[in-house]
Symmetry: C2
DNA sequence: GGGGCGAGTCCCGCTGAACGGGACGCGGCC
DNA sequence: GGCCGCGTCCCGTTCAGCGGGACTCGCCCC
């Protein structure tokens, strides 16, 4: 009826179900069926029926009158190749960097024009950053994003308008290019309160065995409490170590990966 | 037609789609459409149509003629509450235990009668265990499983038949109860090559602020190379530290969780 | 070189699963 | 008491999903 802009889910059952599941990405914790109706503007009975289905198959779990993503989703999510191999190789080194500095340390990859945080070790003190594992953030306003963009060549399409988050956010295309040049020369990217006021960060790119950039190691904290200009070497070191491990591991790990490729 | 035992997916589109997604849990990496047809015994055209749908909404990604779970699944999986809060609290301490011992260190929770591995730090040397983050394993044949079972009271239903993995696997119900008593007294559980020959482990339970068991911290390695009887204190210490952090954090974290409960 | 096989793609008529408007009951709040 | 929002259930309609099957394209083996 109303030609309303359906978020994107089209009219298939799978699309609608995915719309529902997506609601749980940001909203930590559980949601009531009524909240889902509001957020998706799907008809009430559709949501209730669908949610019951999702519980039956294990994608959602029921918690009183609320619903939450099921452990099955975690299991499948851990099997996603784009993150699995990288995290496997990186986790140990990220932990080391974290323990050596006690700062917030993370790993992020680029998806579209946004970074997705694959791993995150939080500093003990300091305010809990809103960033969390599995979270997204626009690439132009993050150290990790800039670190990856700088080495991505022209394969990434920059959106027409770059949203502003603080007064320091880079929203001009030319300015962004200048910044990326700088990152390319230095090998590290800085976030100077461009995403969140009072929060700064450093990031360095991680490369695959073929030389293509895969992700970025980052470190962040409260301006004044963390000195990013003294941390860049540490971040770069960790990023390079991971890159080397990936190159070394290829010869060992890949055969195993290839082995059980097929069904039956 | 053939009354074949449909795995469980029933006849809804969501059920079928979930059946497809589940295929990616164990089979690391990507699968071809044909492999999916074989594994699910769904009609060819159904699989092809459905897989195209799943790609459209982002649950799968296409990789040549193969398909792999999409990064979206990782994002939603990270939002699963059952694992999120626990991992947040545990990660730092697991990393410490790992760095202190250089052994394989993990965190697992119980789902049904199986443990699901939430986190896993791998030892540098030693054979790569088949266990991986997001993986499942029957509870009676794992140190973590026994550690959680021992403190779960009678809330968990023990299956009629306990599958055997090695000659040491506990497959007798009475014997399992004796073992769980022992675990309850000691506060730690041991895996004496009960899951995989030559592999041993220790695990200790993690408790929530209300005293209910939530998960288990575990350590494992090759028999002879790791001395589990000398590691149990370390594992218990880490488990207790996490339990305490959870209790402390409740007052801080919960308000935030409650806050944005609702939509709109 | 030809023919068999398994892969991926496309088509299309049929049908019942999904759809969604709406009635109902419950509980909390004004 | 009356209103409102929530969860549940019902049921007639219809169109999205279904799946058999035809087609093509490589590849391998005879």
């Amino acid at each position: 009826m109303s030609p309303a802009h359906r978020s994107e889910g089209e009219i298939t059952a799978i699309g609608r179900a995915t719309d529902l599941l997506k609601q749980f990405r940001e909203s930590r914790g559980s949601l009531s069926a009524a909240a889902l109706v509001r957020r998706t503007d799907l008809p009430k009975s559709t949501v209730y029926r669908m949610v019951a289905d999702l519980v039956r198959v294990g994608l959602l779990e029921r918690d009183g009158d609320d619903y939450r993503p099921g452990i099955l989703l975690f299991e499948i999510g851990e099997a996603v190749p784009r993150q699995r191999d990288l995290r496997d190789a990186a986790k140990r080194h990220l932990a080391t960097l974290h323990q050596a500095t006690l700062e917030n340390v993370g790993l992020a990859l680029l998806d579209g024009f946004e970074v997705v945080h694959l791993e995150m070790f939080r500093g003990r003190e300091g305010p809990r950053l809103p960033q969390h594992t599995g979270g997204r953030w626009p690439a132009h306003a993050s150290a990790s994003g800039k670190a990856v963009l700088a080495f991505s060549g022209d394969t990434v399409e920059v959106p027409a308008v770059l949203p502003r988050f603080t007064e320091r956010t880079i929203v001009d295309h030319a300015e962004l290019q200048v910044e990326l040049d700088r990152v390319r020369r230095r090998g590290v990217a800085f976030d100077r309160q461009e995403a969140i006021a009072m929060i700064v960060g450093v990031a360095a790119p991680v490369f695959g065995p073929d030389g293509a950039v895969l992700a970025a190691v980052s470190m962040s904290g409260v301006a004044g409490r963390i000195d990013t200009s003294r941390m860049d070497a540490a971040v770069r070191t960790t990023a390079l170590t991971i890159s080397q491990d990936l190159a070394d591991a290829r010869s060992v790990v890949r055969p195993v990966l290839q082995a059980r490729r097929d069904g039956r």
